[in-house]
């Protein structure tokens, strides 16, 4: 128990020194000194609750992904039918209860139809399911149902894209070091240190930025629109709040429009005639060609510019627009036009994101907490150290040195594994100090006991460490169990607390048991005392 071969001594001291060295950058920063940038600098990050900033939890609605897939499938099926040159004719296309149904008019063409639909589906999941189930009932009625695997895959893809889009938009705002993490199946956490007013950020993330150009159905009568009646193949879209026609709706053709996902650029600019803020967009080749085709075929007809299901404006197509660029007008302010330009540049969000949790912390509170936490820790540590010294003498000195090294090592390990210190984490830090000396109390009390029973010095020390270590390990393992559960189930700050606890438990076992044993054994071997004061 008290035998330490030379390699072990070197090993233990190197661990200790690495731990202490790693703590130095964090300490100098806290004390206000700049750390030379050419040196490596592992440093403890401050959590949002200490540094100040905003935490936003966004949630997507998976059912939206499902309905988008139905839309997409309907469009693909119509496209296939149209390109069959009248060979296959279908009727009664409808989306009902999350399925797409249609009837093939000629029963002999059912197999041909099946051949056409099959390539529109693809594999999903690991066990060979496809993303759509194709059924034929009553001989000619097709029922296409998205499978759960297909939906799950679509949601995952949508969320991956959403995280990318969110990142691009936040980068465009120029905020520093944002953290953007996917959480669970359909959530995204956004943390921006230092951000005090998250309103701009939230309105930017709240905008799906799904841009569509659709032809206006001029055959619809205003009286019918008011009653909610639309011609077949068209739909009613409300005007955006803030536009002159706000509160009314417009009938537009459901299919045959152009989506804004073919843009290469979007910039805020001003209309040359009216000097109103507008958004100038540039299409890619494919989108430009489609746009040219649409505008050439529909000169002198109005088309609607629709953003996130709201009509921004419905200008007339005065001439074919073939250059691949266009201007979007729609009662913008310079700011809202700029925001839309950012959103369009970063691409549309594949799903709407809603803010379900938001936390903002001012910078003063955090700074105050750090200062008070440090004072509490210093006072607590000094008082505990004094107490330990007066109770255990030389053995107390060893425990005290172990305590100081422990504090530094916790900081060092936190810096090395790059964890974040949160407000409850400060409490965890202080608490660890009280708990860390428990190991030394147990050991020293046991040595006292063994001496009272008449054991010789070396034997008593040996027994003290041996007998106490059982309880120390059991107690620390139960603490780690609690901390691990805290980490698994806790959110942000609580997780930070759990990490400090676990690191503190490990370093305290190392310093309070291993290191003090090393020092005690070295002293015993050198001084060979026949009696000890403990």
């Amino acid at each position: 128990m008290l035998d330490f071969p030379r390699w072990k001594v070197i090993w233990l001291w190197s661990l200790t020194i690495i731990g202490i060295l790693a703590a130095i950058p964090s300490l100098t920063t806290a004390a206000g000194f700049a750390w030379p940038s050419q040196l490596p600098e592992p440093r403890v990050n401050l959590g949002l609750d200490l540094a100040g900033g905003s935490h936003i939890l966004l949630e997507a609605d998976p059912s939206q992904v499902t309905s988008q897939r139905l839309e997409g499938m309907e469009e693909s099926v119509r496209g296939k039918v149209a390109s069959s040159d009248g060979k296959v004719r279908v009727s009664d296309i409808a989306q009902t209860n999350g399925t797409l149904t249609f009837v093939v008019q000629d029963p002999t063409q059912v197999d041909a139809m099946r051949e056409m639909v099959l390539p529109l589906t693809s594999g999903a999941g690991l066990t060979g399911q496809r993303d759509w189930k194709i059924e034929v009932v009553d001989g000619t009625r097709f029922i296409l149902t998205p499978t759960p695997e297909g939906i799950a895959q679509a949601v995952t893809q949508a969320m991956d894209t959403a995280v990318e889009v969110v990142r691009k938009r936040i980068d465009a705002l120029g905020t520093r070091e944002p953290t953007i993490i996917r959480q669970g199946d359909n959530r995204i956490v956004v943390q921006v240190p230092g951000l005090q007013d998250p309103a701009a950020l939230k309105s930017l993330l709240g905008q799906t930025a799904k841009l569509e150009f659709k032809l206006v159905d001029t055959t619809a009568l205003p009286s019918d629109i008011a009653k909610g009646i639309v011609p077949p193949g068209s739909e009613l879209v409300p005007f955006a709040p803030g536009s002159p026609q706000a509160g009314t709706r417009l009938a537009v053709k459901r299919l045959g429009g152009i989506r804004g996902d073919t843009l290469t650029n979007a910039q805020q600019s001003n209309n040359q005639q009216t000097n109103e803020p507008v958004v100038s967009i540039t299409f890619n080749n494919e989108g430009g060609a489609k746009f040219a085709k649409l505008t050439t075929a529909n000169v002198n007809k109005p088309f609607a510019i629709i953003l996130d299901g709201k009509v921004l404006s419905a200008p007339n197509i005065n001439e074919p627009i073939i250059g691949g660029t266009a201007q979007i007008s729609g009662s913008f302010t310079a700011q809202s036009a700029n925001q839309l330009a950012i959103s369009l540049r970063s691409g549309a969000l594949p799903v709407d994101l809603k803010v379900v949790e938001e936390r903002t912390v001012g910078p003063d509170l955090g700074a105050d907490s750090i200062r008070k936490g440090m004072i509490a820790m210093l006072v607590g540590t000094v008082a505990v150290m004094a107490f330990i010294f007066f109770t255990y003498g030389r053995f107390g000195v060893y425990a005290d040195i172990a305590l100081v090294i422990n504090v530094l090592m916790i900081l060092g390990v936190m810096a090395i594994v790059n964890t974040t210190l949160t407000l409850p984490g400060i409490a965890g830090f202080v608490l660890t100090i009280g708990a860390a000396v428990d190991a030394n109390v147990l050991i020293n009390e046991r040595i006292r006991e063994e001496r009272k029973r008449g054991r010789r010095v070396v034997q008593a020390v040996e027994m003290g460490y041996k007998e106490a270590s059982r309880a120390i390990y059991d107690a620390n393992i139960t603490n780690i169990i609690a901390a691990v559960l805290m980490f698994l189930f806790g959110s942000g700050p609580v997780k930070g607390f759990a990490v400090v606890l676990v690191i503190g438990i490990m370093t305290s076992v190392f310093t309070a048991m291993t290191m003090t044993r090393l020092w005690v054994s070295q002293w015993l071997r050198k001084a060979r005392p026949s009696t000890i004061e403990i």
């Binding site: 938001e358 936390r359 509490a376 400060i426 059991d474 609690a482 700050p493």
Partner: protein, 325 residues
Amino acid sequence: MKLVKLVPDDTNIHFLKWRIPFFIVSGLLVLASWALVLTEGLNFGVDFVGGQMIRATFERSATAPVGGLRSEVTALGYGEPIIQTYGKPNQVSIRMKLPKGADHDPALADTMTRTITADLKAKHADVRIDGVDSVSGKVSKELGWTAFKALGFAAIAISIYIWVRFEWQFGVGALVSLVHDVSLTLGMFAVTQIEFDLNIVAALLTLIGYSLNDTIVVYDRIRENLKKYRRMPMPELLDLSVNETLARTVMTSLMMLITLTALLLLGPQVIFGFTAAITLGIFVGTYSSIYMAAPILIWLRVTSGSFVPNESAQDRQERLAREGA
């Protein structure tokens, strides 16, 4: 140097003599705590019930104008706020329910925050907004459920660990004293109406871990003594074990008291409730390790046979022969 000894050598206090009255008192305290939690309720923060919390400090006032604030905020038409000071008398948290429909349109919650903070700043020149928390009903339900799961799993996992390391009776004893400690701490939150938020759950998990430290130290000594003194009656053996570990118990409790007092008095105010929970829990934990965890072993009939395999008649004769020789 003369060393300090807080506990004299060879104490022989008959702790277990009062085990039945203390057990009854503890049982009553647990019942009272739950009765309070159920009747008075816990003062749940927005983490668990949803809503919005604005934290503010009145920098140049000794106390926050809580009454005035309440009528000012109510006048804004978003319903009646819950306003409490926390930490210092000039720091308040203002809690509101989220406006109707905010689950669908988060902009409504934003408008409410803006209206309230603008109103505060207009009417109080020295106000400093320290933070805004806004949690939707759905998220708060999930947070509550995961917190509950974390506590439950922790208690069970720890008990299983102790069962594996000791014997099943010890696992039961640890579980009972855990429930006791957490119940009394919850009772304290019901009495004081300190805000119960996510951090408090972390505090409860911590005290589950730390209050068990005492239990484990006592149990470890009981196990050791059971092997050493096979014929000693159980109450006497428990008393001996508690007395032998008394110096350590007092010393460690004192160390924890020192650091926690420093944190309570000098530490950050925002986590006052958190520190208070841990402080209370740790002392309840020390008590329960002596008066809950230990006597349960008597009632569950732990004997030295629990750790030493029963001897066959032949082994016994051989042992007696050896001991006689």
